[in-house]
Symmetry: C2
Subunit: 331 residues, 2 copies
DNA sequence: CTGAAAGCGCTAACAT
DNA sequence: ATGTTAGCGCTTTCAG
C-alpha cells in the first residue's frame, strides 16, 4: 500500500501512484467531465485502491464551499421541530451536504451568536421560527445566505405553512359549531407566528361576527398551559385557540384538573399537530402542515438560491385536523 | 478600514495593521499566555477594530482540530432523543465546539456511511443507540474517537442509563402487584438495548418466580404497537413490558380499541419516560433516566478522552415512574 | 486535456 | 517574546 506511514492518503499520493499531476486528480474527482475518460477512470481506480477519501476541510479552504448548512431551531425539545429537522437533514444529506444543528432556546441573542460563530464554516443557514427582528434578519441576509422557516421577511427566501388560510379554517370550524367568542392564548412576544396568528384570528373572527380576545403571552410549552387555562376560564369564552399544541396540551391538563370539560364547556384548538395530539385527552383539534416537507424545501431554497433573483416565499398548505377537543357551543 | 476589498480580514491584515508577525497574532488569539501582555492587548484591539473573525476551516487544516463533534441518532423522530440531543448540543457549545447531527433512520449502513463521510471533518463521534455490531464499533474505535450512548462495547467509552437495575425495578413492581407472567415486546433485532433488556427481564423474573416470554421483534414506534398488543392478548400474560414508550403508547391505543382495559386486564410498562407518557390514557408507567445528562456526559467523555487510558463506562441511574398503566393482577 | 505553481488562512517548529 | 518559514490538502488560474 502506498500510503505514507499511517496517515490518510492525499491527492498527492494518488497523483504519484497514478503518474499524473495533483491537479488532474483534483479534476477527476470534482469535475469528471473536464478530464479524459481514460485518465479519469485510472485515477479513480488508484484512488479507490489507496482508500483515498477527500478531506472536506482542505477542499473548503481554497474554494470557500464547506458543503455544510446550519439549521437553527428555537427549541429543540418542541416535537414540532422533529419533522423540520428530519426533513432538513434528509435533504441536506441528499445534496451531499452536512447538517449542523443549533438550539437557540428561544433566545435571540443565542441565535445571533450562533450564526456569528458558524459564519465561515457553513455555506448557509436555515433559521426556523426566528426570534430576531425583521431588521436583524434583513441585515444578516445581506452578508449571509439564509432561508427562513415559519417566518417571512421581505427580500429573504422563506417557507411557511399557511397560517392565514389555516386560521380561517379554525375560525370557520368554530363558527360552524356556534361559537361567538374566542380567545387566543398568545405565544412569545418576539414570535412572528404569534403576531400573524393573532392577526388572522381577528380578521377571520370579524368576518364571522365573533369576538376575539388575546390573552398572554404564555411560554409556548406544556408548562405554560396552566396559566393559559386559568386565564381562559376567567375570560369566559367558549372557544380557545392556543399558540401551539404544547400550550394546548398543557391547557387540557389544567382544565381537567379544574373540572372544566372539553369540549362541552370549552373547545380547544392548537397549531402544529405534534406527536401526542392524537392520544391526549381529549384528542386535540389542531392545524396540521407538512413540516418535514417544509424542512426539505427550506434546504432546497437555500442551496438553490442565486444572488440577485427575487427571494422566493413559499407557502405550504395547512389543514385542520378535527378531533375531540372541539364541539358545539352550549352557551 | 483596513480590510482588503470587501473580503473578511485575516490574521495577515491584523498583523500588518498591528505591526507584528502573523504568528504573533495567531498566538495572541490561541495561546494568550505565550505572548507579552502589552502586545497581546494591542493585537486584540486591532483585531477587534478590524472586525476580525478567525476562520475555523483554516484553523482546522494545519492543526487537525475541527472543534466539531458529530452526534448520530437512530431515529430523530423518537422523542426519547430530544433530551439526548439537547444535552449534547449544550455541552458541545459550552466547550466551544459545534454539533453535527446525523439521523441514521435505524439503518446500520446509513450509520457507517455517515461516519465515513464525516470522518475528517469532526473531532469525534457520539453514537446513540448504535445498530452496528460490536466488531464494527470496536474496529471503528481504533481509528476514530468515539463514545457510545445507550450501548456498551468493551474498550469503548460509553454512557448508559442503568437498564439492569431499572428492569429489576420494573419486575419487582409487577411482582408486588401479584403478576406471575410477563411478556416482553422486543425492539429491533440489532438493538443492543433490546437484547440487554430481555436478558435482565429473564433474570429478574426468574428471581421472583415469574415466567417471562419474549414476543416480536416489533418496530420501536407507535405503529408497532398494534401488532404488539395483539400478540400480547394472544399470549394471555397479565403484564407487558414494551421495548420503549413509543411502542407502549401504540399498544395502549390498540388495547383500548380491542376493549382490553389497562390496567385491569393488562398492565403495561415502557422505557424512557418520553414526552406524552404523562398524558396518554392511561398515563404510562415507565422507566425514566436523565437523558439530557447522558447527552452532556457523552460529549464530556468524548472531548476529555485520552488515548491509552481505560475506556470509561458510565452508568447513570434509572428510576421507575409509576403511573396508571400498571395495577394488581386479577387472574 | 494535462501539468506547474500559486495560494486559501492559519499553525507550529525553528530561529533569533 | 517575537519573527521566519514551511507546510496542512486541495483548488484554480495559467501555460503548454
Amino acid at each position: 500500500m502506498a500510503e505514507r506511514n499511517g496517515k490518510r492518503p492525499t491527492i498527492y499520493d494518488v497523483a504519484q501512484e497514478a503518474g499524473v499531476a495533483t491537479s488532474t486528480v483534483s479534476r477527476a474527482l470534482a469535475n469528471p467531465e473536464r478530464v479524459n475518460a481514460r485518465t479519469r477512470e485510472h485515477v479513480l481506480t488508484v484512488a479507490e485502491r489507496l482508500g483515498y477519501r477527500t478531506n472536506p476541510l482542505a477542499r473548503a479552504l481554497p474554494s470557500g464551499r464547506t458543503q455544510t448548512v446550519a439549521l437553527s431551531v428555537s427549541d429543540i425539545t418542541n416535537p414540532h421541530f422533529f419533522g423540520v429537522i428530519r426533513g432538513a437533514e434528509q435533504q441536506t444529506r441528499a445534496a451531499g451536504y452536512t447538517l449542523i444543528l443549533g438550539d437557540t432556546e428561544e433566545s435571540p441573542d443565542l441565535e445571533t451568536s450562533n450564526i456569528e460563530r458558524l459564519s465561515g464554516s457553513v455555506d448557509g443557514f436555515v433559521i426556523a421560527a426566528s426570534r430576531m427582528s425583521d431588521e436583524q434578519i434583513a441585515t444578516l441576509a445581506t452578508s449571509h445566505r439564509l432561508t427562513l422557516l415559519s417566518r417571512q421577511v421581505p427580500g429573504v427566501p422563506s417557507v411557511i405553512v399557511d397560517h392565514e388560510d389555516g386560521t380561517r379554517q379554525i375560525i370557520e370550524h368554530l363558527a360552524s359549531l356556534g361559537h361567538t367568542s374566542v380567545v387566543y392564548l398568545a405565544g412569545p412576544r418576539r414570535s412572528w407566528l404569534a403576531s400573524r396568528r393573532w392577526h388572522s384570528i381577528q380578521a377571520s373572527a370579524a368576518r364571522h361576527g365573533m369576538t376575539a380576545t388575546r390573552l398572554g403571552p404564555f411560554p409556548p410549552a406544556v408548562v405554560g398551559g396552566a396559566a393559559a387555562a386559568d386565564a381562559t376560564i376567567g375570560h369566559g369564552a367558549t372557544a380557545a385557540i392556543a399558540h401551539n399544541d404544547l400550550l394546548a396540551i398543557g391547557m387540557l391538563r389544567r382544565l381537567a384538573a379544574r373540572d372544566v370539560h372539553v369540549p362541552r364547556d370549552l373547545s380547544v384548538v392548537g397549531y402544529d399537530d405534534i406527536f401526542g395530539t392524537d392520544f391526549c385527552s381529549p384528542p386535540l383539534t389542531t392545524l396540521a402542515g407538512h413540516f418535514e416537507e417544509a424542512g426539505r424545501l427550506a434546504v432546497d431554497l437555500l442551496l438553490g438560491s442565486r444572488r440577485g433573483g427575487p427571494a422566493p416565499q413559499r407557502v405550504l398548505p395547512s389543514y385542520l385536523v378535527v378531533r375531540e377537543s372541539t364541539g358545539p357551543a352550549l352557551r
